[in-house]
Subunit: 190 residues, 4 copies
DNA sequence: GATGAATGAGATTTCATTCAT
DNA sequence: GATGAATGAAATCTCATTCAT
C-alpha cells in the first residue's frame, strides 16, 4: 500500500495481502456459500487463475482469511492498570469493535460455523480463541482476587459468558452495546 | 407415521414432513454449503427429481425447514406460576434444549447467517424471534415488578442478553449450561 | 360445447377436442419449443397425467393438432362460377384468413418446420398440401384455358408461387394483404 | 484457419467461429428444439462446459448464429449495370442461394419463428431484413423509373412479394427455382 | 377417466482447478 | 507471475411418461 508502484499492479507480498483482504470482504458480503475464487481475483484485478499462484487451493485462501480475521479480533490486549480497569477496558473494547466493524463478526461467525466440519479451520480458530479465553480468565480471576466480581461468579464461567455473549451479540448489532453494558454491570460489583 | 404402510414407501403429507426432517438433518450435518437436494431425497428414499414434486425449488424446501426449526425452538411457553418461577423455568428449558438437541442450534445459526442475504428467510425468522423476544420481555417485566430482578436490569435489555447468550452459547455447547446458570444467578435476586 | 354439462367438466370426445384446441393455442403462443403437456392439460382443467388417457404420447397429440390445423386452412373450396371468379375468390379467401387468424399461420409454419424431421407429420401435411396444390393447379389451368392468365404463366408453377407466397407472407402479417393483391394483379390478366 | 496448428485443437477466435458454425449446422439439422450445447461443443471437439467460456449462455451463442446467418443471406449486393440487370441479377442470386445452400433457409426460418418470442433476436433479424428490404425497394423503384416494371406494380409491395416468396419458397426447395423465375417474368416487363 | 406421486433421462450452468503459453 | 482456454464433476431444475389408487 506504500511503495513498489510503477504504473503496473503490484505483485509480491502486497498481492498476497490484497487477496486475503478481498476474500475477507467477499466472505463478509456473501458468506461461504457465495465465496468464489473468481470474485476474489476480480476484486484485486487479476485473472481468476492467477490466484492459484498465491494460494494453490481455495482452502489455503480460506485459512489465510481465518488467520487474518481471528488475529484482528481477539488481540485486544488490555493495558496496564488495576484488575477492574483492565477488565472494564477489555469489555469496552469489545463493545467498540462490535459497532465499529460489524462485518468482522459476520466473518467470524461464518468461520466458526464452517470450522465445525473443517478440522484445519477448527484448530486455527480454537487456538486463537483459547488465547482470548485464557486472557479473559486471568482478567476475571484478578478481578475476583480484588473482590471486584459479583458474588458467586466463577471466573472461568464468567469468561464463557463473555465469549458466548460477544458471539451472540454480533447477531443483532443494534443491541450489542446495551447487552455488554449490562454484562459489565452484572458481573462487576464495585 | 400411523397407517397405510404395506411394504411401499409412504406418500402424502408424511412424505412432505419426512423431506423437511431430512433437510433439517442435512443442514445440521453439513451446513448450507453442503445442502444438496440429492442427499435430502436419498435420505427419504426417493429419486432426487421427485423432490421437486413437493418443493418446486430448493428455496421452498429451505423455507419449510426454517419454519420447522424456528417453530420448535422459541415455542417454549412457560407454565403458570409466579413470575420468578416462570422466568426460571424458561431459562431452564433453554438450557435443556441446548444440551439435548445441539443440532437445533447449529441449524438456527446457519439460518440466521443465511437470512442476512435472504429477505424471505429473514422475515420468517424475524417473525418467530419477535415472538420469543416479546415473551421474554414480559417475563422479565413481571419479574421486575415482583422485585425479583437484579438492581439496574432493564427488562428489554435483559431479554436481549438472554437472546445473545443463547445464540452465542450454542457455539460451544459444552459451556452452555454453566453460562446460562450464571445468567440465572446474575439476573435474578430472590 | 353445447350439452353434457352437469356441474362437472365434460369428458368424452369433447375433452379430446378441447385438448387439441388447447395444444393448438399453446403452439401458437409458444411454439414447439415451449409446448408442454402440463400446460395443455392445465388449459383444459385436467391433471397433466390424465392427458395420456386421450393421447398416449405427446406425438399423438401433435399429430391431432396437425390434422386440426391443416384441415382448417387448405379447405377453402372455391364456389361455383367462372374460372376467373373462382381463382379470385380463392386468393381473396387466403388474404382474409391471413389477417383474420394470424396464429393459424404461425402454427402451420411451426408444423412445416418440424415436419422436416418428423416423417409422420410430413406425410400428413404433405397430404393436405397436395390437395391444395391440385386444387390450385386446376384453378389456374381453368383460368389459363379461359385465357385469363398472364402471358407465360405455367399453371403448375403459378400454383407454387401462390403456395410459397402464402407461406412466406405469413411472416409479416401487415404486408400479407397487399402482397396477395399484387399476386392477383400479376397472375390474372382480365 | 491459417496457422498455429501443431496437432492440438486451435484456440482463440478460430474456436469462436468454429462454435458458431457448429451451432449453425446443428440448427440446420435439428432445429431449435434439438439444439444442444453439448452437441455443438462435441462437433468442435471440446468439452460441453468449455463452451461457456466463449458464450456465457446459450442465448449468446444463438445471437452469434443469428448474426452469422443473416449476414450471409441478405448481403447479396447487386453489381453495377442498368436497373433491370441489377434486379435480374439479384433475383438470380436468390435463386442460386436457395438451391445451393438450402440449410441457410432452414436456419433463417427457424430464427424467424423464434424471433417472435425473443425480442433480442427480433431486433437483430429485423435490422438485417430492413437492409434487404430497402435495397429491394431501391432496385424496384429504379426499375420502375426505367419503365421496366410490370404495369401496376408498386415497388414497395413488389419488394414484399419477393421477400414473402423467398421465405415461403424455401419451404419446398424443389420448386424454388421455377417460382423465382416466374416472379422474374411477372415483375419485369422488358 | 382422473389423480398424485414417482421416475429417469437430460439440459444448462457453475466453479475449482490445470495447463500451455 | 499472469493469462486464457479447457476440463470434469456436480448441482438444480424440467418434463414426458408410468403406476397405483
Amino acid at each position: 500500500m506504500t511503495a513498489t508502484r510503477r504504473g503496473r499492479p503490484p505483485a509480491g507480498p502486497e498481492r498476497w495481502n490484497a487477496l486475503v483482504q478481498a476474500a475477507y470482504e467477499c466472505l463478509a458480503e456473501g458468506g461461504f456459500e457465495r465465496l468464489r475464487m473468481r470474485d476474489v481475483a476480480a476484486r484485486v484485478g487479476i485473472d481468476h487463475s492467477s490466484i492459484h499462484h498465491h494460494f494453490p487451493t481455495k482452502q489455503d485462501l480460506v485459512v489465510a482469511v481465518v488467520d487474518h480475521a481471528t488475529r484482528q479480533f481477539w488481540s485486544t490486549t488490555p493495558p496496564d492498570g488495576g484488575p477492574v480497569e483492565r477488565l472494564r477496558h477489555h469489555l469496552a473494547t469489545l463493545r467498540q469493535k462490535i459497532s465499529d466493524e460489524p462485518e468482522l463478526h459476520i466473518v467470524l461467525r461464518e468461520l466458526d460455523l464452517r470450522a465445525r466440519r473443517d478440522p484445519e479451520l477448527r484448530e486455527i480458530i480454537a487456538g486463537r480463541e483459547e488465547g482470548w479465553r485464557n486472557s479473559l480468565r486471568t482478567l476475571l480471576t484478578d478481578a475476583a482476587a480484588a473482590g471486584a466480581l459479583a458474588a458467586g461468579v466463577d471466573p472461568a464461567t464468567g469468561a464463557e459468558l463473555v465469549i458466548a455473549t460477544v458471539k451472540g451479540a454480533s447477531l443483532a448489532a443494534e443491541h450489542a452495546g446495551d447487552v455488554l453494558e449490562l454484562l459489565d454491570h452484572l458481573l462487576i460489583r464495585a
